[in-house]
């Protein structure tokens, strides 16, 4: 088998020759083929991020339509049917097509760089994941354009979404879109877990992992444990609708609340799947701009882990008014409140870091400050709704809408935007504008609070959520108008952000390797990083490698340049074990995604699609795994 190949080692080459050799080995082909066959984690992640932000913009436009309709009582801008589709689309799109994917995507881009490896584990699975995500998003939005969008809310409660009341294919499209995004998310979770556990730079023992990487690792485990619930839930919903099973039909021994249990067993952890990566970004940004390591590293890691474990014990707090036994509910009050402890630990540690640090007020830090101010409000309202009696008054009202926008936007989107400002130079090689950045921050911060704070009051004043209109004799008119107008300020802020981002890719100031003087490994390579990330694999012996040895990176040599090689190391101590190969580009993940898409969409209409559709899927998978005679296959 192993024909003798030129076994060139990096140590034999001078830096320019080394770079050229690696570039040749790790190259992504150009042209359409290259686009479809790419497996470079940076290319995939960039696509993922851009697509997710496109969905954010689309979801934001839907939000504006809702605000237009709600600005006045009994407005006739949208019909009730359209409104129901739009709020469902808004929620579904924001959660499944924007928030979760964008966080995963940031992980896909950054984790391999931060742990000092050359590509993510299972790069082809990564490519597949993106195509599946794209197909799921396209399915939803095409359905919307065809007036077939789901209209049952982002948690699609049965029986409304069941065979009897959910007419047409709308609920099926919702359920199948879920399947797409879950497959994509699960794939990324597996890649990240294995990358973090096995591909860390030599010497990066567990206590030297950057906090962002920890947060992605923990998040990935949450994905792995939570997503099967929703996959089963959405599948059984489709089965109920398509082949007449009775999971959710009380007349035949099924149960309506079973759906809610399954959905929220996933749905609650879901919000931490969005939130935990964001706190990882906060830690990364605070560390760099407070000019010192985050206070309480161990406490921070423990808080992440505690949150992820507790996340599975809270789901019933979304069901406080369904009439479950009171005693059980009190247990869920206690568990929901206890999750505020790890949240508090993190907030206090960040405050301590800022307190003892020397903060530099650049845009990323501004977003983080905005995050603390708003997220704490959202967290505190979360604690309020965790109380059963309190929740019976505000559940399914605008108070809850306010709570979750505070935690989603204040708690996750603010850090994300800060993260974009922070990592933009690394990803594109250019800086974003500081002026526009500050401008967008203030517009978003002010606009956000003006938009969402009054919703608390609306909720207490009795305004339920998911109503397409309200009657003129209700006292909600003024505040709703105010909210709608304020949302324009918010949108202006996002617009400035989008403009800045698009503009800066072309005309931004070129960025150096480490423009912020940050401590972690992603800043130890060029901006943007070359296809192989690091010419030589870094060796780590501290938590802040670039601060510990300013200007000089410790590396290892001895890797081959004619083969895509990276280092596999032990789980705990990160001792190098193997010079493992990383797969080359392949068109098969793309075909596998196409085949899966055809199968999944077909199965909305007939169960036979699963039977016949699995054949092309199997063929594509065989093509994917069938060994090719590349140097990577040597052993």
């Amino acid at each position: 088998m192993s024909e003798v190949k030129p076994d060139t080692r990096d140590s034999e080459l001078a830096p320019p020759a080394l770079a050229a050799a690696l570039a040749e080995t790790w190259r992504t082909p150009v042209g359409l083929w290259g686009v479809l066959a790419a497996v470079d984690h940076k290319i995939i992640a960039r696509r993922y991020i851009v697509t997710a932000f496109a969905f954010l913009a689309l979801g934001g436009v839907l939000a504006l339509l809702m605000r237009l309709q709600l600005a006045q009582p009994e407005a006739r801008v949208l019909s009730p049917d359209r409104y129901n589709q739009i709020f469902t689309m808004h929620g579904t799109n924001m959660m499944f097509l924007f928030a979760v994917p964008v966080m995963e995507a940031m992980g896909v881009y950054l984790v391999p760089l931060m742990v000092g490896t050359r590509n993510i584990a299972f790069p082809r699975l990564n490519a597949f994941s993106y195509w599946i995500f794209l197909a799921g998003g396209a399915l939803l939005w095409i359905a919307f354009v065809l007036d077939m969008a789901p209209d049952v809310g982002w948690f699609a409660y049965v029986p409304l979404s069941g065979p009897q009341y959910g007419a047409g294919k709308r609920a099926d499209i919702w359920a199948q879109m879920i399947t797409f995004t879950e497959i994509a998310a699960l794939a990324v979770a597996v890649e990240i877990v294995v990358t973090v556990l096995k591909q860390r730079a030599p010497g990066m023992s567990l206590d030297r992992i950057p906090l962002f990487v920890w947060s992605m690792l923990v998040t990935s485990f949450v994905v792995i444990m939570a997503m099967p619930a929703i996959v089963f839930a959405s599948t059984s919903l489709i089965l109920d609708r398509l082949v007449g099973t009775h999971f959710f039909n009380p007349a035949e021994g099924g149960d309506v609340l079973l759906w809610q249990h399954l959905f929220w067993f996933f749905g609650h952890p879901e919000v931490y799947i969005i939130f935990l990566p964001a706190v990882g970004m906060v830690s990364a940004i605070i560390e760099t701009f407070a000019r010192r390591p985050v206070f309480g590293y161990l406490a921070m890691v423990m808080a992440l882990i505690a949150t992820s474990i507790l996340a599975f014990g809270l789901w019933v707090h979304h069901m406080f008014v369904t009439g479950l036994p009171r005693l059980g509910q009190s247990f869920f009050t206690a568990s929901s409140m206890s999750i505020a402890i790890p949240a508090g630990v993190q907030v206090f540690c960040w405050l301590a870091t800022l307190w003892d640090g020397a903060p530099v007020f650049r845009t990323p830090l501004l977003f983080v400050i905005g995050f603390i101010v708003t997220f704490v409000i959202g967290g505190l309202t979360g604690v309020m709704v965790a109380s059963v009696p309190f929740d019976t008054q505000v559940h399914d009202t605008y108070f809850v809408v306010a709570h979750f926008h505070y935690v989603l936007i204040g708690g996750a989107v603010f850090p994300l935007l800060g993260g974009i400002y922070y990592w933009f130079p690394k990803i594109t090689g250019r800086m974003m504008s500081e002026t526009l950045g500050k401008c967008s921050f203030w517009l978003i911060f002010v606009g956000f609070n003006l938009t969402f704070f009054p919703m608390h009051i609306l909720g207490l004043a009795g305004m339920p959520r998911r109503i397409y209109t309200y009657q003129p004799d209700m006292p909600w008119y003024g505040l709703n108008m105010f909210v709608s107008i304020s949302s324009l300020v918010l949108v202006a802020g996002f617009l400035v952000f989008f403009i800045d981002a698009i503009r800066s890719t072309r005309v931004g100031v070129s960025a150096a390797e480490n423009p912020w003087d940050a401590p972690t490994l992603e800043w130890a390579t060029a901006s943007p990083p070359p296809s192989y990330n690091f010419a030589e694999i870094p060796v780590v012996n501290g938590l802040s490698p670039l601060w510990d040895q300013p200007g000089c990176l410790m590396v290892a040599s001895g890797l081959r340049t004619d083969r895509r090689e990276l280092i596999v190391s032990t789980v705990a101590a990160a001792k190098p074990q193997v010079r493992e190969a990383s797969p080359r580009d392949s068109i098969w993940p793309f075909w596998a995604a196409v085949a899966t898409t055809v199968m999944l969409i077909g199965s909305i209409f007939t169960p036979w699609a699963v039977v016949w559709g699995s054949v092309p899927v199997a063929i594509a998978l065989i093509g994917w795994f069938w060994p090719k005679a590349t140097p990577e296959d040597e052993s």
Partner: protein, 338 residues
């Protein structure tokens, strides 16, 4: 900086502003029912404490950022003495958090218990949530004391009234903020909710679980009145519908009974016994029609009957083509059913 301060003020004002001004007849803070009142106390407590917590966090944040301006150099190896001192402060803050949360949990627990300890009473009302109106059945001690009505619950002041909640089609949720927290009506399950109004009045409520097209227009009214008034109301509700008192009304009754109306609606004392729509025996005496959509007048009845699908798009009452005369007489008839 200014916005932060403004918002601080806003947050501090929240409890008081809600208490004072922005009340309505569907507000959790305009509490007139036993449960709503104890929940309100809990809410005020939690909102106040949380506002203080937030203010403290912000104060520390501002101080930390302000302090930092003096520092210039980055400190890679933070001073262990300072770190230990900081650690003590963090531990203290976490301890305080635990205490606050424990207080919240205990208070919530006792409030919950207070809500469920309410004694029982003989007045039980079966509430059926359906797309998009409320069917009501007052259960008396004997079968002939039962009666049907819709969308308007009358209760006596100062008594516990038990509502048996049933979801007929999809999930709905009964919420009358002025009196009590909400409770879902779930197909295949039976839930209960106890209402007790401390003061007479009309309390508006609204379905608060998304239930399809007209979830927005699924309101109900709870009218709490003194015992005598209530008894009188009960007696009159048990009666069959009043007989037509003039020719136009009699003609309206004929129209009602001969057109599809009777297939869906019941009017006790006539041959109309449909159950797909609200019982109309005393529809003229209710304040609103179509689940809070319109105030009951002859005109609104006519408007509704002539085109229910424009007024409440997607609702389950079809448009029945009637001539102008028929429309006039049938609305006169329904308006006469007090």
């Amino acid at each position: 900086m200014r916005t932060r301060a403004t918002r601080g003020v806003l947050l501090a004002l929240l409890p008081s502003s809600v208490l004072a001004g922005c009340t309505g007849w569907q507000s959790a803070f305009d509490a007139q029912g036993a449960s709503a009142i104890s929940i309100k106390q809990l809410m005020v407590l939690m909102v106040v404490i949380c506002s203080v917590v937030w203010a403290l966090v912000i104060a520390v944040l501002i101080r930390a950022l302000w302090r930092g301006r003096e520092q210039v150099e980055r400190s890679i190896g933070p001073d262990p003495v300072i770190e230990r001192r900081t650690a003590r402060v963090v531990v203290a803050a976490v301890t305080a958090t635990v205490i606050v949360l424990a207080v919240f949990t205990v208070v919530s627990f006792f409030t919950t218990r207070a809500l469920t300890l309410a004694g029982h009473d003989d007045l039980t009302i079966k509430v059926r949530g359906q797309q998009w109106w409320w069917g009501l059945e007052y259960l008396g001690p004997t079968p002939d004391e039962r009666f049907e009505t819709a969308n308007e619950i009358h209760i006596p002041v100062g008594r516990n009234v038990r509502l048996q909640l049933e979801g007929i089609d999809v999930i709905h949720s009964l919420w009358v903020p002025g009196l009590a927290g909400k409770q879902d009506l779930i197909p295949g399950r039976r839930n209960e909710l106890t209402l007790r109004a401390e003061r007479p009045g009309a309390y508006r409520g609204q379905c608060s679980e998304f239930c399809g097209l007209q979830h927005a227009h699924m309101a109900l009214l709870v009218i709490a009145e003194q015992q005598e008034t209530f008894d009188q109301w009960m007696r009159s509700q048990r009666e069959r519908a009043t007989d037509p008192s003039d020719a136009e009304i009699a003609a309206g009754q004929q129209v009602f009974l001969s057109r599809p109306c009777a297939a869906c609606h019941a009017i006790r004392g006539t041959s109309a016994t449909g159950t797909n729509g609200p019982d109309l025996t005393h529809v003229g005496g209710r304040r609103y029609i179509a689940a809070g959509l319109l105030e009951t007048t002859r005109g609104s009845l006519a408007a509704w009957i002539s085109d229910p699908q424009t007024l409440k798009p997607g609702n389950n009452m079809p448009m029945v083509a009637l001539s102008a005369d028929e429309l006039r007489s049938v609305s006169a008839y329904l308006a006469s059913l007090k």
